[in-house]
C-alpha cells in the first residue's frame, strides 16, 4: 500500500539520509500502536458510539420532503386548504367495511399549516424517510403505498381539539373514532418511484424534485385508531351537495439520499466517459477512501497510503466521515501535523511529524525508559545511526496496517508498558513524600522563618527555589540573556548579569514581611478575639504562608514543625500554648490532624518545657 514517490532522483547518500529522516515516524507510530493494542481490549465509549453511527449511515435511505407550492394565483384557494394533513399510508386490501371505498393504514401524519403556530413558526413541509431505492422498488410495484392529502374545509374538523400544534401529529392523542367531510387526494408512490428511477441525478445521490398538481376531491373521511393500527377510511360521498367542493393543489415532492447535505466536494465526482450506472457504484466504492501522504526528508519526499472507509491509518478506527476523521486525527494523534484537503479527485491528508513537541513518552533509542525520570522532557531526541534504520523502518509498515503480534506478546508488551508507567507514578509519589522528612530533618528550614528576608532564605519548602538549569546550560539562551538589560520584576531595578544568570527566581514570591504586616493589620480589625489569639493566628498564618502549607496532608507535618519552631516561645506564654493546643484540637476535630501527630507535638512542647525549666540541659 505504500509506494515511494519517485519524482526526485537522489544520490545514494541522499537516499540514506532520506531513509533516516523517515525513521522519525517510528517512535510515534510505535506509541500509537501501543495505545491501539490497549484499546482493542477496552474500546473507548466514543468509538462504540461511532460504530453504531457508521452502521446507521451505511443503511441508505431516502428522505422525501412534501411541500405545498405557494402559487400566487391560487394563493387564496390554497390558503383555504390549510391545515392540510399529509399521510404516508398503505392501502389495506381487504377490509370489510362496506360504506367505505378505501381504507388506508398509516403510522405518521404531518400537519401543514400556514398560520403561525403557538411558537411563532409555521410548518409548510412534511418529511418522510423512505427505504433505499432498491427496496422501494418492491413496495412501489405493489402499488399499495401512497401519499394522502386531507383537508377539512368548511367541514367540521375531526382533529380539532387534538394536539395540532405542528409537525408529526401525536397519534396517541387521536380519538379512536373521528370522522367528517373533507377534501382529499392521493399520489401513489409508484409514480414517484418511476420518476426517481429515471432521474440520473438521483441515482448519483443528488436531489430529485417533482412538482405536480393534484385535484382535491370531496369525500367523507373516518379516522379510526384500533390496536395500534391507525386507519383512514374514505367514502365517496353520496350527498351531492358536497361534490361541488373540488380544488387543485400544487405540491412539490423532493427526495434525496438521507444525509446528503453533509457530502463534500469529493462526492460530487463526475466522469463523462463512465456510464452512470457504473458511476454510482464507483462513487460508493471510493466514498471512504482517503489518501495519506507521509511527508519526510524536510517535506520533500512522501510515502502514500490509502485507507478505506475513513479509517485512521494509525489505530484503524473507522471514522464515518472525512470530518470525523479530521477530528479523530487531530485529537488522538497529535504527535503529527495534519493537512486536510478535498477535491473532486481525492480526499487526502498530508502527515508530518511534529518535531518541536517531543514528549517524554517518546524515548530516544538506546535509552532505557525505565531509567528515565517521567517528567523530564527537555532531552533532545538523539539522531539515530543508519544502522538501526532498516529495523525501525520495518516498524512503520506493519503498524499502519494491523498489529499482527500474537495476543500473548501483545499482553506482554502491554504489561511492560504498565509496569513502566506505574513505576513512574510511584517514583513521583515517593519524590513528594521523601521531601517531607527531608525538610523536617533540616533545621535550616524552620530557622529561616525567624530571619528577615534580606538574604535569600536558605530553604523554602516546595516550590520557592526553581532551578533554571535548562536556560543556564544552554549557551544560546545564555547569550540571549547577555544581550540586553534585565530589570527585577518586583523592584524594577536593573539587574547585573550575575543576578540574571543566577539560580534565584523570585518572580512569584510573596513578600513575607509585607504579608506579615498585612496579616497583622487584618487581625487587628477583629474585635471579638483576644490578644493572644490574635498572636497565635498571626504566627500560624505566617508559618503556613512561608512553608507553603497548601494541602490537608501537609497539616501533620506543619503542626510538628510549628511546635518545634515556636515551642520555646509557646512554653513561656501559657496563654499562647493553650491557644495552640485548642487549635490542634480543632484540626483534629476536622480530621486534618491525627492523634499521633498531635501527641508528637505535645512531646515536642514538653521537651521545650523541660529545657525551659532546666536551662543547663
Amino acid at each position: 500500500m505504500c509506494r515511494q514517490d519517485s519524482r526526485v532522483r537522489m544520490s545514494a547518500e541522499e537516499e540514506m539520509a532520506a531513509e533516516e529522516s523517515l525513521s522519525i515516524y517510528c517512535k510515534p507510530v510505535e506509541f500509537y500502536n501501543i495505545l491501539q493494542r490497549r484499546a482493542i481490549r477496552n474500546p473507548s465509549f466514543l468509538q462504540r458510539c461511532l460504530s453504531y453511527k457508521i452502521e446507521a449511515k451505511h443503511k441508505r435511505r431516502i428522505q422525501m420532503t412534501v411541500s405545498i407550492s405557494r402559487n400566487e394565483k391560487e394563493g387564496v384557494q390554497t390558503q383555504n386548504l390549510f391545515p392540510l394533513y399529509v399521510f404516508l399510508a398503505r392501502l389495506v386490501p381487504d377490509v370489510a367495511v362496506p360504506e367505505y371505498s378505501a381504507t388506508y393504514r398509516f403510522s405518521r401524519a404531518c400537519m401543514l399549516s400556514n398560520s403561525t403556530g403557538v411558537d411563532g413558526s409555521s410548518q409548510l413541509q412534511a418529511n418522510f424517510i423512505l427505504p433505499d431505492i432498491n427496496k422501494l422498488a418492491l413496495e412501489a410495484k405493489s402499488g399499495s403505498l401512497a401519499i394522502l392529502f386531507v383537508s377539512f374545509v368548511g367541514a367540521q374538523n375531526p382533529f380539532r381539539g387534538i394536539n395540532l400544534s405542528k409537525g408529526p401529529v401525536d397519534m396517541a392523542s387521536f380519538p379512536s373514532n373521528a370522522g367528517g367531510y373533507c377534501l382529499w387526494s392521493q399520489i401513489p408512490l409508484e409514480l414517484l418511484y418511476i420518476s426517481w428511477e429515471n432521474s440520473p441525478n438521483f441515482v448519483l445521490g443528488q436531489r430529485a424534485e417533482m412538482i405536480s398538481t393534484i385535484d382535491m376531491h370531496s369525500c367523507f373521511l373516518k379516522l379510526s385508531c384500533l390496536n395500534e393500527d391507525k386507519c383512514l377510511m374514505i367514502a365517496t360521498p353520496y350527498n351531492p351537495e358536497t361534490v361541488i367542493l373540488s380544488q387543485q393543489l400544487q405540491v412539490t415532492i423532493s427526495a434525496e439520499e438521507f444525509g446528503a447535505r453533509e457530502k463534500s466536494l469529493y462526492n460530487t465526482y463526475t466522469r463523462s466517459d463512465i456510464p452512470s450506472t457504473l458511476l454510482s457504484h464507483i462513487i460508493r466504492l471510493r466514498a471512504g477512501n482517503v489518501i495519506f501522504n507521509y511527508r519526510y526528508y524536510n517535506n520533500t519526499l512522501q510515502r502514500t497510503e490509502v485507507t478505506e472507509d475513513f479509517s485512521c491509518p494509525f489505530c484503524l478506527v473507522r471514522c464515518a466521515s472525512f470530518k470525523g476523521l479530521r477530528h479523530h486525527l487531530c485529537s488522538s494523534h497529535d504527535l503529527f501535523n495534519f493537512e486536510f484537503w478535498v477535491t473532486e479527485e481525492y480526499q487526502a491528508v498530508n502527515v508530518s511529524v511534529k518535531i518541536d513537541n517531543w514528549r517524554s513518552e517518546i524515548v530516544a533509542d538506546g535509552v532505557d525508559p525505565k531509567l528515565q525520570v517521567f517528567f523530564s522532557c527537555s532531552k533532545p531526541l538523539r539522531r539515530r545511526r543508519p544502522k538501526n534504520l532498516y529495523q525501525s523502518l520495518k516498524h512503520v509498515h506493519p503498524h499502519v496496517l494491523q498489529s499482527d503480534l500474537p495476543a500473548g506478546l501483545c499482553d506482554l508488551s502491554d504489561k511492560a508498558d504498565d509496569a513502566h508507567s506505574s513505576k513512574g507514578d510511584k517514583a513521583r509519589i515517593s519524590g513528594v513524600s521523601s521531601s517531607l522528612p527531608q525538610s523536617c530533618a533540616d533545621p535550616g528550614c524552620v530557622q529561616s522563618i525567624s530571619g528577615n528576608n534580606f538574604a535569600p532564605p536558605a530553604m523554602l519548602l516546595f516550590a520557592k527555589t526553581r532551578k533554571l538549569s535548562v536556560e543556564r546550560s544552554d549557551p544560546r539562551n545564555c547569550a540571549l540573556l547577555r544581550k540586553r538589560q534585565f530589570f527585577h520584576s518586583h523592584r524594577a531595578q536593573p539587574m547585573t548579569l550575575e543576578q540574571v544568570l543566577s539560580d534565584q527566581d523570585s518572580e512569584d514570591e510573596v513578600d513575607d514581611d509585607v504579608a506579615d504586616f498585612e496579616d497583622r493589620r487584618m487581625l487587628d480589625d477583629f474585635v471579638d478575639v483576644t490578644k493572644d489569639e490574635k498572636q497565635m493566628m498571626h504566627m500560624w498564618n505566617s508559618f503556613v504562608r512561608k512553608q507553603q502549607v497548601l494541602a490537608d496532608g501537609h497539616i501533620p507535618w506543619s503542626c510538628e514543625a510549628f511546635s518545634r519552631l515556636h515551642g520555646h516561645d509557646l512554653v513561656r506564654a501559657p496563654a499562647l500554648i493553650w491557644c495552640w493546643r485548642l487549635f490542634m484540637i480543632k484540626l483534629w476535630n476536622h480530621g486534618l490532624l491525627d492523634a499521633r501527630s498531635m501527641n508528637n507535638c505535645n512531646i515536642i512542647l514538653e521537651q521545650c518545657q523541660g529545657q525551659a525549666s532546666d536551662p543547663k540541659s
Binding site: N452, N453, F454, F487, H488, H490, R491, A492, Q493, P494, M495, T496, Q499, D511, D513, V514, F517, E518, R521, D525
Partner: protein
Amino acid sequence: MAAKFALGSEPVAGSLAPSKKREYRVTNRLQEGKRPLYAIVFNFIDSRYFNVFATVGGNRVTVYQCLEGGVIAVLQSYIDEDKDESFYTASWACNIDGNPFLVAGGINGIMRVIDCGSEKIDKSFVGHGDSINEIRTQPLKSSLVVSASKDESVRLWNVHTGICILIFAGAGGHRNEVLSVDFHPSDIYRIASCGMDNTVKIWSMKEFWTYVEKSFTWTDLPSKFPTKYVQFPVFIASIHTNYVDCNRWLGDFLLSKSVDNEIVLWEPKMKEQSPGEGTVDILQKYPVPECDIWFIKFSCDFHYNAAAIGNREGKIFVWELQSSPPVLIAKLIHPQSKSPIRQTATSFDGSTILSCCEDGTIWRWDAMENS
C-alpha cells in the same frame, strides 16, 4: 475608606484685596530658552547655597545664583543626552558627605542625580514606568528623595546609595497619575501624595523604617535590596473634585490645590484604631484667580510663612499662610508677564520670588526694602 467632611465651621476664604504688607518689583527677566520651564527651586538643603536655584525645562537643567541687585548668575547647565527628554521637576538633595546633589526627572521616567560639586551625573535611577511629575527631598535626611510618577506610584530613593527603598503603590494606592508628593516637616515617617485620581493620600513608612535605615548601609547591588511595597495609605482624602496637582504639609495640616482657583488648607483627622479612615476639616482657602489649568504648583519660603503661586495669565499671588483669615501679601503683575507660570520659587526669607513660565522665561521679583 475616603475621609468624610466633618461638621464644623465654614472654611475661611482669604480676601483678594492686597494688604500691601510687602511690595515686590521685577528686578530681572531671563529668557532661558524657547521650551517651557516646568520647575524652579531654591536650595533649602544647604545653608551655604540658599541663594542658589535650579530650573528645568526640555532636556536641560540649569543652576543659577541670585546675587545682589537683581542679578542672576548662571552657575552650571546640564543637558540630557536624550533630546526628547523633558524634565518636569527637580529637587535639591545631598549625600551623607554633604555634597549638593540635584535630582531631576521628567517624561522619560529616569531620575538624574547630578553631583553639583563635581558637575557630574552621580547616578541615574530607573524604575518608574512612566514620567516623573514631582521629586521632593526629606529635609531631615536629605539623601532621601521621593518621586511621584505617572505610573501611579510614589517611590522613596536613597541618593547616597542609589537604592529604591519603598514603593507606595498597589491595592490602596493612587488610581491615576501621581502629580505631587511631600514629606511631613517633622514626622519623618509620613508623606502625602496627590494626583489625577482627585485624592490626597497620606502614607506612613513607620513599619518599613528598618528598610530605610538599611538603605544607608547597603553595600550590595541596589537590585538586590529588598524593596518593599507599601500598599495601603493611612489616610485618603477627597477634598477636590478634579486633578490635585500640588500638595504641601503645613505642620500637621495640608495645603493642596486643584484647578478650582484656590489653595485649600485642611486638617486630616485620623482615627488611631482604624487606619485609612478619618475625617477632613477644611480650615482655610486661598483664592488664586485664573488658576484653572492643571500642573501649576506653588512654593513656600523656608518657614512656610508665605506661599507664592502663579496663574494662567502670568500673575503671581503671594499669600500669608499662617494668618486667619489668610492675607494676600502681594499680587505681582507685570504687563509683559502673560505666559502661564508653572512653578514659583520663594527664597529662604520670602524676599525674592522667582517664577518660571511656559514661554521659557524666568522672572525675579524682589521685595522693596522700605516696606
